[in-house]
Chain length 158, copies 2
């Protein structure tokens, strides 16, 4: 039995059609989602990498910088500048790992947690808007497919 | 009857969990997908906006610049620079619209079509990799949900 999408490599994009091509639809949706949040972030002195850092640390505090780079989908050089700014704004602190002196972990400060909590209602509203009119079952199936796709494409075990 | 996801606005991100938060998963997947193509594009002298322009025109040739900006998820200023480069490389040509002298349409040249056809096997392979082990039915349902989401978030009637 073979449930792979076999025909895709042999079809042209024009035959698939943009509205059937998942990467096109996902880039359109995420472009719009990220843009809708960017306006709110700018008002709060945040950028996308800074806001994603606060969001990820609010769930997984104390991550290593290399793991934070994966979770935030941000290159280490860009992330490093974002962390410098977040630290000088008093929103995160960096600590050398207790076991590995070369590894650095990043923690939210109380102000950092408050900054994310102030941004969250906007993110949550954008998330709800995205799924308007989509049932719980359909959303659960969609998220299940996304998880398989992430396992297929990721290079890191996170 | 109400099938809206009502609980989301009242849950914290830590309660939802990153692996249940669709925007996080989608940013991770598209970050990886776009990055995997970027390497191939650079070898061909292309950037993401230039490659997306070729891809979109291969399906819908002769688009107005403002519509091309929406389809390629690229700001008009960035797109304008990409079009300058594509034109000087002989891959696209711009023509004033026959009905509206202020509107410009963009067309692929034969070289531009060939450049996209040379890139397509790599895009198609990345697309197949993304859906590895996912059945046709599951993929069709996933794409159906994506279309609803795009209708929910888009600002343009495209």
């Amino acid at each position: 039995m073979n449930d792979q999408p076999q025909q895709a490599p042999f079809m042209k994009l024009g035959e698939i059609g943009l509205n059937n091509f998942a990467p096109y639809l996902m880039n359109r949706i995420m472009g719009r989602y990220n843009e809708s949040l960017r306006e709110e972030m700018v008002e709060r002195g945040l950028t996308t990498p800074k806001a994603r850092t606060l969001a990820v640390l609010s769930v997984n505090d104390g991550l290593l910088i290399r793991d934070l780079s994966v979770y935030t989908v941000t290159e280490q050089s860009t992330l490093s500048r974002a962390l410098d700014q977040l630290q000088s704004d008093g929103l995160v602190r960096r600590e050398t790992d207790t076991l590995d002196q070369r590894a650095v972990r990043v923690f939210l400060t109380d102000d950092g947690r408050a900054a994310f909590e102030a941004l969250w209602p906007q993110m949550s509203a954008a998330y709800s808007r995205m799924f308007r009119g989509i049932t719980e079952d359909e959303r659960a199936a969609f998220i299940g497919t996304l998880r398989k796709m992430l396992t297929n494409v990721r290079r890191h075990e996170l």
